[in-house]
């Protein structure tokens, strides 16, 4: 147990730093695209301002309401001891692990679905929620369930929901702006509105070309960054969760069971797919897909856990 615990807090600090870094880079990308769009359309610096404002407003909105939205979309209901031993099971497990982690207890939710899966959401540890399917409660034993809950608790503690929500919104803003810029390139420049700063007619055309290039590349870059970050956070949550239970095999065994279960998750859709512990829309075709996977390959996750 020697210096692992010190590293736990170090890791959390490192996460915060990386989070700030990620958001800064992303924000700069948004502002860059906004600026170029502004140049293209001749509204100059206003492009940057508008992009900035839109990104901030959308980030704040989704950050604030992300949990209720996601819970509603998945059909989750709050766990309640009055409803019986199964609810008590999940409530006790979440409570026990919150005690081990020394953090406030997230609200446990249950999703009525035979496919085993789980997710965590919420803007910060004081306002978090963890949802599990009835399938998960049926099919996993106590130690496997603890592994899964510990993983989800780690997501909450690392503020991953904040990170991924903001990342999704920023990526979305970039995509929106890029779509706009591509349309402008095709049609808009005909309506004039040259860049008031430029002193030659050719200046605007350059911005159009830059804008087009960015419009194609930026969404791609945003998506790749988002996916890479998502995978990294999954590994981190695996590691932190295993540290919490002091029993990596629990989560490894759970992942094996979940991956091996063919039951499709009824409440899965593209918007929420990345939040579950195991991607319910997993597509097994092709190498290119691995760059666009929100989750690392299950074999690699299990191997890392067993190496601990």
């Amino acid at each position: 147990m020697s210096d692992e615990h010190a590293n736990f807090y170090d890791q959390m600090n490192a996460n915060r730093v990386k989070t700030v870094l990620l958001m800064t880079v992303f924000a700069l990308l948004v502002l860059l695209v906004g600026y170029v769009a502004g140049r293209m359309t001749g509204i100059g610096w206003w492009g940057l301002v508008i992009a900035g404002v839109v990104a901030i407003v959308m980030s704040w909105g989704s950050y604030w309401w992300s949990d209720s939205l996601v819970l509603a979309m998945s059909g989750a209901r709050p766990a309640d001891k009055e409803l019986g031993p199964m609810d008590a099971y999940i409530i006790n497990t979440v409570e026990g692990l919150s005690i081990a982690a020394g953090m406030p207890m997230p609200m446990p939710y249950v999703v009525d679905d035979p496919a085993p899966n789980a997710f965590a959401t919420g803007r910060d540890p004081e306002h978090a929620a963890i949802a599990v399917t009835t399938g998960l409660l049926d099919k996993l034993d106590r130690q496997e369930l603890e592994g899964v809950i510990a993983h989800e608790l780690s997501h909450v503690r690392n503020r991953d929901t904040l990170v991924t929500t903001v990342a999704v919104v920023l990526a979305g803003t970039i995509v929106l702006l890029s779509d706009f810029m591509r349309s402008w390139f095709r049609f808009g420049w005909m309506f004039g509105g040259g860049d008031d700063d430029s002193d030659s007619g050719g200046g605007n055309a350059i911005w159009l070309l830059i804008g087009l290039a960015l419009a194609i590349l930026a969404p791609l870059a945003a998506l790749l960054i988002q996916m890479a970050v998502s995978r990294k956070r999954e590994y981190l949550a695996d590691a932190n969760g295993a540290l919490l239970t002091r029993y990596p095999e629990g989560l490894a065994s759970a992942l094996r069971k979940i991956a091996g279960d063919p039951t499709p998750l009824r409440s899965a859709n593209k918007a929420t797919a990345s939040l579950w512990i195991y991607n319910p829309l997993k597509d097994h075709k092709g190498v290119m897909n691995s760059l666009f996977e929100t989750h690392p390959p299950i074999e690699e996750r299990i191997a890392r856990l067993q190496a601990m």
Partner: protein, 187 residues
Amino acid sequence: MELLLPCLGAIIIAVVVVAAVVIGIYNRLVTLRSRVDNAWSQIDVQLRRRYDLIPNLVETVKGYAAHEKETLEKVIQARNMAMNAQSVKEASEAENMLSGTLKSLFAVAEAYPDLKANQNFLMLQEELAGTESKIAYSRQFYNDSVMSYNMTTQQFPSNLVAGSFGFTQRDYFEIEEAAKEPVQVKF
């Protein structure tokens, strides 16, 4: 004369910086120590919870398996001993014995399908299992907190602050030697 003012200025700045650092370290030590205290009482909360669940369990089982009187009585006696334990060693032994009697009780309950189907019994079984887990995790968290705190009191330069203001090291929660032996349920 020209040197006096900058020198004074430098000294004052140095003093302010050192004071700020000391205050920062002191506050950190207070935070870590509070965490340890809180973790300790958390263990107690979970232990109490277990004691509180047992009478209800015994009543429920009595309703279906009245002639398992002996097993039931052992559970109650073990519980009372654990609640009245005076020293940490006594408490450890009593806790262990209580766990043993509960295991016997649940093993015996397997023979009574009506009891096993009873919602209240299932609920209590789940609650007790959950509480055992919480006891274990609260002890784990206590030890983690003690380690953080102790490390800070030992490392440089916080050890200087710790020494000056009386922050002493805390003991880890260890399973007593007696409790490591196989459980013998005897009264």
